[in-house]
Subunit: 196 residues, 2 copies
């Protein structure tokens, strides 16, 4: 009988190894070689799954999206008893406010930097970007409430503004090595105040 | 008599060559080799001025800062007869709204992406970032006007918010290859409306 290889299982196992290396050594440290060592594979076998560094980064990005989706789902499924608090908590999941989210943010920025110059990654980046935009649209609509409040809001423009603000804050946080956690939550809180 | 070499003049000449290559081939095309070819130098002599790609990027960034400073000076020196229009025009100089500013934005983002992982570039990035923050502070103070209006504004928070928004918009514009010029000016105009 031929040996049966569960490729999905292997890919998951490797994605976990990618994630561990990034948490420990940063995105720069997550070379094909380093991930192979972490997973106990030969670099050659690893290249079957991740032929390029871009593929590896793309897999790490998928893991980030899954993690955020899981955490955000909890907030977004709640009945909006306190829309402002609910929106704020959900958006905090996207900001680098602890070691876990700083690692996610680092992957997101590395993935974004690569997408600027790598056309193959651009399409995947757009998908992730659109899902972030949907979160921003949900936030704007939730804050605007129903009826008259919502009618006054240009949802597309407000969502684009919140989205740009979130990306800008995440970038600034990364460049100051996360020393500005309080600062970025304060700026976001002020922005949400103006939307409520 | 020994040959006198004007290093500053040479550096300027090279900075011009870097800029021409970036305008034509993008930041990715601006390797030490490509810049040497453009300037008519040997790669070896070029490395005397730019030992690394980071140095080359840093020089390109200096050129961007000088260009923006020159253009912004015109607006900032005006008496504020129409503060809103003046601020908007000045901030537009920072956004990728034409080929020239798209090239500048590309340099800024490449420089930022490198600063995320290169500690040497981080200090120089912080300087540039602080000068952008000062422009945002000037914008917020100019819009708030004097006296009562200004007293109500938390200038530090508003400047940080405008700064993050500007960086986010520039990033989004670059990722959509500048097809969103109208879109980003609309989002910025809306933001300035809320500050006036």
């Amino acid at each position: 009988m031929p040996k049966v290889v569960d490729h999905d299982e292997r890919r998951r196992e490797l994605a976990d190894a990618v994630w561990r290396v990034i948490r420990r050594d940063g995105v720069e440290g997550a070379s094909v070689r380093a991930v192979a060592r972490e997973a106990g594979w030969s670099p050659g076998s690893l290249r079957h799954y991740f032929p390029t560094q871009s593929e590896l980064l793309s897999t790490a990005m998928n893991a980030v999206v899954e993690r955020i989706d899981t955490r955000m789902g909890d907030f977004r499924d709640l009945a909006p008893t306190d829309p402002r608090a609910q929106v704020e908590q959900a958006l905090h999941e996207l900001l680098p406010l602890d070691a876990e989210r700083r690692a996610e943010n680092e992957v997101w920025l590395a993935f974004t930097a690569r997408a600027l110059v790598d056309r193959e990654l651009r399409a995947r980046h757009r998908e992730v970007d659109q899902s972030l935009r949907r979160v921003c649209t949900w936030a704007v609509e939730t804050l605007a409430g129903k009826g008259k409040g919502r009618a006054k809001v240009d949802v597309a423009t407000e969502s684009a503004r919140l989205h740009a603000l979130m990306d800008g804050l995440a970038l600034h946080a990364a460049l100051t090595s996360g020393r500005q956690g309080d600062h970025i939550t304060k700026v976001l809180a002020h922005h949400l105040d103006t939307l409520t």
